[in-house]
C-alpha cells in the first residue's frame, strides 16, 4: 500500500509561515529557515554583502566563536549550511531527531544574536578574496559569470553574489548589521521541517526558541525591468592551455508568473533537457562533440535565463556552436515535433511522481514556492497544466520568448583562435576577450 506522510502548515510568531512534512521512516529531521530576500538587497558597489553576512552568521552568535559553534554542531551530529540566492537566504540544517531541540536553540541564537565580530569579519573577508582568486580555476563558473553580464548589463541579475575584490573590501560591520536588521524578521521567514517530528512538537520548539524574532515588515526589493539587449555578441575568457572549451549560449527566458511558463517548460524539455532530446542526440551522440550538453530554463521574479551548455574540445568549439545555433533557429522557426512534446509531457509528469520518496523532497514542492513569494500550492496543478499544453501553445511560447537573434555566447578557451572565428560565424564585431582573473 502506498502511504504518504502527513503534511501541515501553520502561521507562527507574528507572520512566519511553517510547513511540516512528517515522516517516521528514519530518525532524522531536515530544517530550512528561509528568508525571502537575498543578494538583490546588496547595494551597488557592495556586491557580496548578503553572502558575507551569511558566512558571519555561521561564525556564531554573541559570546560564541567559530570553533565553538562547529563543536556544538558536531556534538549534536548535525550538518548546517547557509545559502544565499538572489531573492532568498536559507539556513539548512539536518540532525538526528534525538537532538532536534538543541539544534533549534542553536539556530535561534545564530539568527537572533549574530556576533558580527570584527575579527571574524576580517577573516571571512580574506576567505572571500581567496575564493575570488580560486574562481580562475572554475571554467564553467567563469563562463556563466560573463554570460550573465552580457544578458543583464546594469541590472541586479547581472551582478555576482560573491562580489568583487573591491566591493568585498568595502563591506563594514555596520553594513552587515543593517542588512541583518532588514532581513531577519518573522514576516520574511518561511520555515520548512521534514522528518521525524510532529507538527505539535515542532510548533512548541519554534515558539520557545524563535519567539523573539523581530516583527517589522518584510524588506521590499524592487527589481527593475530587464531591457532587451539586441543582436548577437560573445565574450571569450582567454585560456589557451585548455584542451576543451566551456561553451554557454544564452538569451532571456521566462519568469514564475509568465502565462507562457508551462508551454515553454514543455518546449524546453522537448528541445534539450533529456538524453533523448534533439540537442543531446545531435551534439553528443551524432557528433561526439561533448560529454555533457543540455538546455535549461532558470526562473526568477523577472525573466530568467534560457541557456544551452556544452564543453567541446577546443578544435570543435566553433562547429559545436554553429550546430547549436542552427538547432536553436530551427526550434524557434519550426517548433517542436508533436511526438517530441508528447514525450516531454510523459517525462515531466513521470519525473514529478518520483519526487515522493522522501519527506524532504515532498516538502520542497511547497517550500520553494513559499520562499519565492508564490502560493504554496503553486505546483499543485503542475500535472494538469502540463497535460493541457497544446503544440500550438508550446510553439507560440517559444516564438514569443526565445530570440535567437539576441543570443549571447560565453566561451572559455583560446581567444586568439576563437575571437576571429566567432566574428566570422556570428557576423558581428561584438566579440571581446577577457582575462580569467578579470573580476
Amino acid at each position: 500500500m502506498t502511504h504518504l506522510a502527513s503534511h501541515h502548515a501553520f502561521g507562527l510568531l507574528g507572520g512566519a509561515r511553517v510547513l511540516v512534512e512528517e515522516s517516521r521512516d528514519l530518525p532524522l529531521v531536515d530544517l530550512a529557515f528561509g528568508f525571502r530576500s537575498g543578494s538583490l538587497l546588496d547595494p551597488v558597489g557592495m556586491e557580496g554583502l548578503a553572502r558575507l553576512m551569511a558566512r558571519l552568521l555561521r561564525s556564531g552568535p554573541r559570546g560564541s566563536s567559530p570553533a565553538k559553534i562547529e563543536d556544538e554542531l558536531a556534538d549534536l551530529g548535525a550538518r548546517m549550511s547557509i545559502q544565499v540566492g538572489q531573492s532568498s537566504l536559507t539556513l539548512h540544517a539536518s540532525v538526528l531527531s534525538r537532538n532536534l531541540e538543541p539544534l533549534i536553540a542553536m539556530v535561534a541564537s545564530i539568527l537572533l544574536e549574530p556576533g558580527f565580530r570584527p575579527k571574524d569579519l576580517a577573516r571571512e573577508r580574506r576567505a572571500t578574496l581567496a575564493r575570488i582568486t580560486q574562481l580562475v580555476d572554475e571554467d564553467r563558473a567563469l563562463a556563466g559569470r560573463h554570460l550573465y553580464r552580457m544578458l543583464y548589463p546594469d541590472h541586479p541579475y547581472g551582478r555576482g553574489m560573491l562580489g568583487t575584490r573591491r566591493s568585498v573590501r568595502s563591506i563594514q560591520r555596520e553594513h552587515l548589521r543593517e542588512l541583518w536588521r532588514r532581513t531577519f524578521t518573522s514576516r520574511n521567514l518561511v520555515v520548512g521541517v521534514a522528518g521525524d517530528v510532529s507538527a505539535e512538537d515542532i510548533s512548541r520548539m519554534l515558539h520557545a526558541h524563535l519567539g523573539e524574532l523581530p516583527r517589522q515588515a518584510r524588506p521590499t526589493v524592487k527589481i527593475p525591468g530587464i531591457p532587451r539587449v539586441r543582436g548577437r555578441r560573445a565574450r571569450v575568457v582567454h585560456k589557451p592551455e585548455r584542451s576543451q572549451s566551456q561553451l554557454l549560449v544564452g538569451t532571456l527566458g521566462t519568469h514564475y508568473r509568465d502565462p507562457q511558463l508551462y508551454p515553454l517548460m514543455l518546449a524546453n524539455t522537448a528541445f534539450g533537457e533529456t538524453f533523448s532530446s534533439p540537442l543531446v542526440d545531435r551534439i553528443r551522440k551524432q557528433e561526439g562533440f561533448s560529454y555533457g550538453v543540455g538546455s535549461r530554463l532558470s526562473l526568477g521574479q523577472k525573466r530568467g535565463l534560457f541557456s544551452i551548455s556544452s564543453f567541446p574540445s577546443s578544435e570543435d568549439a566553433i562547429d559545436c556552436l554553429r550546430i547549436e545555433l542552427e538547432l536553436l533557429d530551427a526550434w524557434v522557426e519550426r517548433g517542436c515535433p508533436a511526438a517530441g512534446l508528447r514525450f516531454a509531457k510523459g517525462y515531466l509528469v513521470g519525473a514529478r511522481g518520483m519526487e515522493l520518496d522522501t519527506a524532504e523532497k515532498r516538502l520542497d514542492q511547497r517550500f520553494g514556492p513559499a520562499l519565492a513569494g508564490l502560493p504554496e500550492s503553486y505546483w499543485d496543478d503542475y500535472i494538469p497544466r502540463l497535460r493541457a499544453v497544446t503544440k500550438s501553445e508550446a510553439d507560440a511560447a517559444v516564438r514569443a520568448r526565445i530570440r535567437p537573434e539576441d543570443v549571447a555566447i560565453s566561451i572559455v578557451g583560446d581567444a586568439d583562435k576563437l575571437v576571429p572565428a566567432l566574428k566570422q560565424l556570428l557576423g558581428t564585431d561584438d566579440v571581446t576577450r577577457h582575462a580569467p582573473d578579470e573580476a
Partner: protein, 437 residues
C-alpha cells in the same frame, strides 16, 4: 577461486530473507549464478532497478585501461531488436532516472522509475546484457565522448589531474594505479574486437547482482527475472585473487606543473581493503581529522591559520585497499613547504595523543548521520545493497560497518591511525602553479 569474498549461506536455486533496516531483504540465486536481491518498500510508488556487474577498471590490463568505463557507455547503444536510443527514450518517456557508473571494482546500471514501468527494466536490461549490437561507427562516436569526459574531469581540471597522478604514484604495481577513465592513449586505441571480448567475458549472469527495491512483490520479481534472465548461460570468469600492492618503504613525491592560481597538494597514505575491520576505524580517523569545518585540519589550516582554501579527505572503498586520500588547496602567497610541515606536526600530535573522547563521539555521530542519509531514498537503499554485495558479497554487512563505527574506542582509533598514517607509506603530488598566457 571465486571472485566473491563471501558466499551467502543459502544454496543455488534457493532463497532466504534477512532483516534490512526495518525492511526485509529477499535473496535469491538463479541456477546460472545470477544473484537477485529484492527489497520491498511500498512507501512510494517507485522502483529502483540496479544491475551491478563485478567488473571495473581493476579487471583491465595495461594498454587497455578505461575499457570497463568505455563499455558502460556502449551499453546505451542499440541491441539486435532495439534501435539506438530506445533504452533512454523508453525510460525518459515515463520520467525515469537512468544512468550508470564505473569504478575500480564494479560497474552498475540503474533505473529509478514509476512502479507502472518497472517491468520494462527487466525486459530492457536483460536484452542489452546479451544482445548489444557492437558496431564500429558507434564505437568511434562514443570514443570521442569518452575523450571529452576525460578532458573535462581530468586534463583541464587541476584536482582531477593531480589525483590521477597520485594514484599512479602511490599504488604503482596494482591495477588501481590507472584511472577508471583510462589513459588517453589507451582510449584512442579502443577497438571492436576487444570490446566484444570484454562483453562476452564480463556481462554474464554469474557476474551480476540484480537489486530491485521499492513497491514490488518478491515473488513477482523472481518470476519475471527468472523468465528474462534464467536462460542466459553463465560465462567462465577469470579467477581473481585479492592482489597486493607492492610494499612501499619510503615516502614518494612528485610535482605537477599546471596553470592554476595557487599551489595544491594531493596526498595519499596506503589504506586497507574495504572488507578489513581497519577500514571502518580509518574512516573514523578521517572524520576526526577532516570530516567537518570543525575537524582538526580544516579548523587549523583553513580557518585558524588561513593557509588553505580547503582541506578534505576520504578513504577509498576499494576491495584490495586504496588510499587515505587528502586534498589541500593553498591560499595565495603561502609557502607550500610550511603547510606540509604544519600538516606533519598536527598529524604527529594526533598520532601521539590520539583523539579526545569528544572528538570520537562527534565522529561517531557524523558517521551515523551519513549512514542514515545514505538510506533515505529507495535508490539509496538499493545502491547500498548493490555496493556491499559487489565488494563484500553480503548486503547486510552495511550494518556491521555502522556497528564498527559505534564500537570504536580512543585507543583503537589511535592505533589504526599510527599504522596507516605513517610517512613511509605516503605519496605526495605537489601542484606547482604555472603562469598562463
Amino acid at each position: 577461486m571465486a571472485r566473491r569474498d563471501h558466499v551467502p549461506k543459502f544454496a543455488t536455486g534457493k532463497t532466504d530473507s534477512v532483516p534490512f533496516g526495518g525492511l526485509t531483504l529477499h535473496r535469491f540465486r538463479l541456477d546460472n549464478g545470477l544473484e537477485l536481491r529484492v527489497l520491498p518498500d511500498s512507501r512510494a510508488p517507485i522502483v529502483s532497478y540496479q544491475s551491478w556487474f563485478r567488473v571495473g577498471s581493476a579487471d583491465e590490463e595495461p594498454g587497455r585501461t578505461g575499457q570497463a568505463h568505455f563499455f558502460e557507455h556502449l551499453m546505451f547503444g542499440a541491441t539486435d531488436t532495439r534501435e539506438e536510443g530506445e533504452l533512454d527514450r523508453t525510460f525518459e518517456a515515463v520520467g525515469a532516472e537512468i544512468n550508470a557508473a564505473t569504478w575500480t571494482d564494479w560497474t552498475y546500471y540503474y533505473e529509478t522509475c514509476p512502479k507502472r514501468a518497472w517491468t520494462r527494466c527487466v525486459e530492457l536490461e536483460s536484452d542489452r546484457m546479451v544482445h548489444l549490437k557492437l558496431e564500429r561507427e558507434r564505437l568511434l562516436a562514443e570514443r570521442d565522448v569518452v575523450l571529452s569526459e576525460r578532458r573535462s574531469r581530468v586534463d583541464d581540471d587541476v584536482e582531477g589531474l593531480a589525483v590521477e597522478k597520485l594514484y599512479a604514484l602511490a599504488l604503482k604495481g596494482h591495477a588501481y594505479a590507472w584511472p577508471t577513465l583510462g589513459w588517453a592513449r589507451d582510449i584512442r586505441r579502443f577497438d571492436l574486437r576487444a570490446s566484444q571480448a570484454f562483453y562476452r567475458r564480463w556481462y554474464a549472469p554469474n557476474n551480476l547482482t540484480l537489486v530491485v527495491a521499492g513497491d514490488v512483490s518478491p515473488a513477482d520479481v523472481l518470476r519475471r527475472v527468472q523468465k528474462a534472465y534464467g536462460s542466459i548461460p553463465a560465462s567462465k570468469l577469470p579467477r581473481r585473487a585479492a592482489r597486493r600492492t607492492p610494499a612501499q618503504r619510503k615516502q614518494r613525491r612528485t610535482t605537477l606543473s599546471f596553470v592554476t592560481p595557487t599551489p595544491k597538494f594531493a596526498i595519499g597514505y596506503r589504506a586497507p581493503a574495504f572488507g578489513s575491520p581497519d577500514w571502518a576505524l580509518l574512516s573514523v580517523v578521517c572524520d576526526i581529522l577532516f570530516g567537518s569545518r570543525g575537524a582538526r585540519f580544516p579548523r587549523s589550516l583553513v580557518h585558524e591559520r588561513e593557509l588553505c582554501v580547503s582541506a578534505r579527505a576520504h578513504v577509498t572503498p576499494f576491495r584490495d585497499g586504496g588510499l587515505f586520500d587528502v586534498w589541500l588547496s593553498l591560499r595565495e602567497d603561502v609557502e607550500p613547504a610550511n603547510v606540509l610541515e604544519l600538516f606533519d606536526r598536527e598529524l604527529t600530535r594526533f598520532l601521539d595523543e590520539g583523539p579526545t573522547p569528544a572528538e570520537l563521539t562527534r565522529a561517531q555521530n557524523s558517521l551515523e548521520f551519513s549512514f542514515l542519509t545514505s538510506m533515505e531514498t529507495i535508490a539509496g537503499k538499493a545502491e547500498q545493497i548493490g555496493f556491499y554485495e559487489s565488494v563484500l558479497g553480503d548486503a547486510t554487512r552495511v550494518f556491521d560497518r555502522l556497528e564498527a563505527y559505534q564500537s570504536a574506542s580512543v585507543e583503537s582509533v589511535r592505533d589504526v591511525a599510527r599504522r596507516y598514517l605513517d610517512s613511509t607509506q605516503r605519496s605526495v603530488v605537489e601542484v606547482v602553479p604555472k603562469v598562463g598566457a
